[in-house]
């Protein structure tokens, strides 16, 4: 499945690239003498307009996700008054159980696939959010915002192993 797709993409790229490259070369040749870096903006204004049109549209980058600070989230979860001690310990047990399932998956001891592990992950996040949303909405928001970043760590065997080593240490 993957190789034909990859080949198809390469072919598409090969079909598209030459005109782009040629256009870029033409531009470079045309623009260089006309637009020196110190030229005033008014003088440049007629020049750049066709330059933008001739280039392929650049896809807009999605906004960068917030940086994930697992240590801070864990500390906030430990210290919040929104949930009691038994509840926190039960959640910790369930997080550990989920990490064990990922470990078993990566070690080939379990037949569960990553998409199958996504479900218990989502369920656990929902449990945490439902416990926090009324009494510590700020922490609930932070966890919600970090959800995909957390999954990104769990779904990557290298990042996951780093996390496991950190937790043991």
């Amino acid at each position: 499945m993957t190789p034909p797709e990859a080949t198809a993409r390469q072919d598409e790229g090969a079909a598209e690239k030459p005109p782009e490259t040629q256009a870029a070369k033409d531009e470079a040749v045309a623009v260089k003498p006309e637009a020196p870096p110190a030229a005033p903006p008014v003088a440049e204004s007629p020049g750049p307009a066709p330059k933008v049109k001739s280039k392929a549209p650049v896809p807009e980058k999605p906004p960068a996700p917030p940086p994930l600070d697992l240590t801070s989230l864990e500390k906030r979860l430990r210290e919040t008054d929104a949930i009691g001690v038994f509840t926190k310990l039960t959640l910790k047990n369930q997080v550990d159980d989920l990490l064990d399932r990922f470990q078993a998956h990566y070690e080939g001891r379990a037949k569960s696939t990553l998409p199958e592990l996504r479900q218990p992950f989502d369920l656990l996040i929902l449990k945490v959010l439902s416990l926090l949303q009324d009494r510590d909405s700020s922490l609930a928001g932070a966890i919600l915002a970090s959800r995909e970043a957390m999954w990104g760590i769990l779904a990557d065997p290298v990042k996951f192993q780093k996390l496991v080593v950190q937790n043991r240490g």
């Binding site: 949930i83 009691g84 001690v85 038994f86 509840t87 310990l89 039960t90 959640l91 047990n93 369930q94 449990k127 416990l131």
Partner: protein, 82 residues
């Protein structure tokens, strides 16, 4: 006059302590309710909790279920039906 002030002070102190205890009991009941729910057991809401020991409670639920909720030697929270 002094006796009246002393009486009122006693009433306020006892009232505050009772309120504190009630709040603590309410928090414990909520904690046990969440715990039993997280463990996937039927309960609804914990209406009373009796302390059996350190980290060990007998919780009575609104639906009449009763659970012993405690932390076992492995550090896991367990709810045993009673």
């Amino acid at each position: 006059m002094i006796k009246t002030i002393k009486d009122w002070t006693a009433v306020i102190v006892i009232g505050a302590l009772s309120a504190g205890t009630a709040i603590a009991a309410d928090e414990l009941a909520k904690d046990l309710t969440s715990t039993i729910a997280l463990l996937g057991l039927p309960c609804g809401q914990v209406i009373s909790a009796q302390r059996l020991g350190d980290n060990d409670y007998l919780a009575t639920c609104k639906d009449k279920n009763r659970y012993r909720v405690y932390v076992n030697a492995q550090g896991r929270v367990v709810a045993e039906k009673r």
